[in-house]
């Protein structure tokens, strides 16, 4: 039987069928639907697979490692920039190794459809010296995630599976296979390898290095590495992951050149060697950085024969598509039309009735008095406050940076120094920054834009719900400088006054600007309002 799934859902079902006991993740486009699928799956419920959201990607990956330590299979999922948050555990679990299979799925966003950058996670898998796989289609996504769990247990290493936006968010029909049982609890693992004091980490690191030849050999033998040999020796093509589709799209009757379909890393040297020995030029097609191109260059030291993103045959940045690949192959295209001039851009915008709109009108009123370049923003729907028609926030770098950048700027003499951060972003990685501010009594005002949900990724539950006041007081915010306002038109004057008062205080102040997201389903909105009111009455 065939099933209609998104690339992300293929990953999720593959993980369920591989016998995972838990998925650990923080939402982030384009990765979110993987965890959501498992949360909604009746089968996963029946199997008691853990699937609650985590506070951030680091806590998620560590929990996955804990489950693996106990012998069970665990999946951890994030977007590319989320892997930065989890880098500490990511690098070190490559040294400790794993017990139960552990697969890290990272969804990259080449072309930055919904992200601050287009970093390529394959580079980080290489950095950690672990294998990775990169599916080209939905069926392969399903098959690869199952295979990755087996490989992880075989090597006792974490394995990374790299997705890209196009595959994550594309549907097709695939076949599911038999389901493997979950692993039993097994706490007999050698604890030395999970205790990375130098005495243990040195031999463990040597072990990781000694595995490198074996993992390269596995790539060479893998069912996901396919070398198709052709007699035409003019060109050889290395097509990685989804780029393989764009190549084949251009040759409906079959590609006339030898093609290495490369979905398994480290680079299978034997196959690449064959291409180098038999083809005049090698074209490398890959979504993301010129990662494989660079390594083939390094390995063979014959730069002029390897072409791709570095040599200008393909653009240096942005995702690939069939037309760009056609151009690199010298295939003539047949594009008849252009976009008429009257078509205007239609960027995303805050929803009608969104509380952030009122909050930004209030802040803009304050801005008339305090001047520009003093409001530090963060990641979420409210990031749209950096664009027209608001132009309220002045920075947007990474999760949690609003608070800590405001502190640093305050240290440098900026006053008032204001941070705007969402409720979920605050619990993701804002709390520690607030503690820094309190420690030093920094003159900052932190506005928590609390809409009771993780709105931008589709209204997932927020760990902050009902806890913000307690968290702030617990961290040491003074009660007199912890204010709660409701961003509504009728409260405009009052709210601007609160902003004025708190931004003139030369210490830490927190203003919780609280109104549930307009996109929350009715029941959840009611619940959030009830929790918020209960919180207000505690005072």
């Amino acid at each position: 039987m065939k099933n209609i799934v998104l690339g992300n859902e293929a990953i999720a079902q593959g993980a369920i069928d591989a016998g995972i006991s838990g998925v650990y993740a923080y939402p982030g486009t384009p990765s979110t639907e993987i965890t959501e699928y498992i949360q909604k799956s009746e089968l996963a419920k029946e199997l008691e697979i853990k699937s609650n959201w985590c506070a951030n990607e680091k806590t998620a990956m560590e929990a996955a490692l804990g489950m693996s330590y106990a012998g069970k299979r665990a999946l951890t999922v994030m977007k590319h920039v989320g892997l930065n948050v989890a880098m500490d555990v990511f690098m070190n679990m490559a040294v400790s190794g794993v017990n139960g299979g552990l697969v890290v799925v990272v969804a990259d966003d080449p072309s930055m459809h919904s992200s601050q950058n287009e970093q390529d996670s394959r580079v980080l898998a290489k950095f950690a010296q672990i294998p990775f796989l990169e599916p080209s289609c939905q069926q392969e996504a399903y098959d690869i995630v199952r295979y990755a769990f087996d490989l992880s247990e075989k090597l006792e290493l974490p394995v990374l599976v790299r997705m890209v936006t196009r595959l994550s968010h594309s549907r097709s029909s695939i076949a599911f296979k038999h389901r493997r049982r979950q692993n039993k609890l097994n706490v007999t693992v050698d604890t030395k390898r999970f205790s990375l004091v130098p005495l243990h980490s040195k031999p463990m690191y040597q072990k990781l290095l000694s595995l490198q030849d074996q993992i390269t050999h596995i790539s060479e033998e893998s069912e996901f590495t396919k070398l198709t040999k052709r007699k035409n020796t003019k060109l050889g093509i290395v097509a990685c992951g989804i780029a393989y589709n764009y190549l084949m799209e251009n040759y409906p009757d079959g590609c006339p050149y030898s093609v290495l379909k490369l979905c398994h890393y480290p680079i299978p040297r034997e196959e690449v060697q064959w291409l180098m020995d038999n083809c005049e030029q090698i074209l490398v097609l890959e979504d993301g950085y010129p990662f494989i191109e660079e390594q083939i260059n390094d390995f063979f030291r014959r730069v002029e024969r390897v072409i791709g993103r570095f040599t200008g045959h393909l653009p240096r940045s942005g995702e690939l598509n069939p037309n760009l690949v056609a151009k690199a192959l010298g295939i003539e295209e047949n594009i008849n039309e252009t976009i008429p001039e009257l078509v205007k851009g239609r960027p995303p915008q805050l929803c009608d009735g969104c509380g952030h709109i009122d909050m930004y009108h209030e802040l803009n009123e304050l801005k008339k008095e305090i001047g520009g370049n003093k409001i530090f923003g963060d990641i979420g729907c409210y990031a749209l406050g950096s664009l027209d028609p608001f132009n309220t926030i002045d920075t947007l770098i990474d999760m949690g940076a609003s608070i800590t950048m405001a502190k640093g700027a305050a240290d440098a003499g900026v006053f008032p120094s204001i941070a705007v951060i969402g409720d979920s972003t605050f619990t993701h990685s804002g709390m520690t920054g607030l503690l820094d501010c309190i420690w030093e009594k920094s003159p900052v005002t932190i506005i928590i834009a609390d809409n009771s949900t993780v709105a931008m990724t589709g209204a997932q539950d927020s760990a902050a719900l009902g806890k913000l006041k307690d968290i702030c007081l617990g961290l040491g915010v003074e009660e007199d400088h912890l204010r709660v306002i409701t961003p509504l038109k009728r409260n405009f004057d009052n709210n601007v006054n609160v902003l004025r008062e708190e931004t003139s205080y030369r210490g830490v102040s927190v203003i919780i600007s609280q109104r549930p997201c307009v996109r929350l389903p009715g029941e959840k909105k009611k619940y959030a309002k009830m929790i918020n009111e209960a919180m207000a009455h505690e005072n």
Partner: protein
């Protein structure tokens, strides 16, 4: 059977419902399909697009190459024009004439419709008003799908079953309303030839 369709519109206008109907109909007809869509921030009132490819042969690319779309089906007239480079020679343009104006510099509507109608194969219709008369403007997307279905080699009954399936969890009135909206669009048709 081999068709490439670009679906265009603004986040929240029901493009993904059209896409899901086509996916389901393709699966029921035992055809290959790939359908890419947009998630995340763009869904907040921004331009959204979905590439739908259906074939009786294996499909590689999730994206339709520029110059290879048989049809652009849009629930908003300006959004239709955004994807013109994808249209193949003599491809079809089908769109709702009802503009969604949430930007300050929305183009002159008369000029916009003139530009579309200057194209050989076009079908511009006020699907929003038709849907409104049938119960709710929200069904404009399904009216448009009905019109486009005349150009897609899938049986009418399969489309109907797919719509019924997709709206199975909704009240019966909505399910039936959408089937009617589809048939209304289908009978208005596209004259091929």
């Amino acid at each position: 059977m081999n068709i490439n369709i670009i679906l265009a519109g603004v986040g929240g206008q029901g493009i993904l419902t059209i896409a899901a109907t086509l996916d389901t109909a393709a699966l029921k007809s035992d055809l290959w399909f790939k359908q890419s869509e947009v998630h995340g921030m763009s869904q907040r009132g921004g331009a959204v697009v979905s590439h739908v490819r259906i074939s009786d042969n294996e499909i590689y690319s999730d994206l339709i190459p520029m110059g290879k779309a048989d049809m652009i089906l849009s629930v908003e007239p300006m959004e239709l024009m955004r994807y013109m480079p994808y249209l193949k020679e003599n491809g079809w343009l089908i769109t709702d004439s009802h503009a969604y104006e949430n930007i300050p510099d929305y183009p002159d509507k008369t000029k916009l419709l003139e530009t579309i109608e200057a194209h050989a194969n076009n079908f511009v219709i006020d699907a929003t008003s038709i849907a409104k008369k049938m119960g709710t403007a929200k069904m404009a997307n399904i009216v448009l799908l009905g019109i486009a279905s005349n150009l897609i080699d899938i049986e009418e009954q399969v489309f109907i079953e797919s719509i019924e399936e997709l709206f199975a969890h909704k009240p019966e009135k909505i399910q039936k309303g959408n089937v009617k909206a589809f048939l209304k669009g289908r009978e208005m048709g596209v004259v091929v030839g």
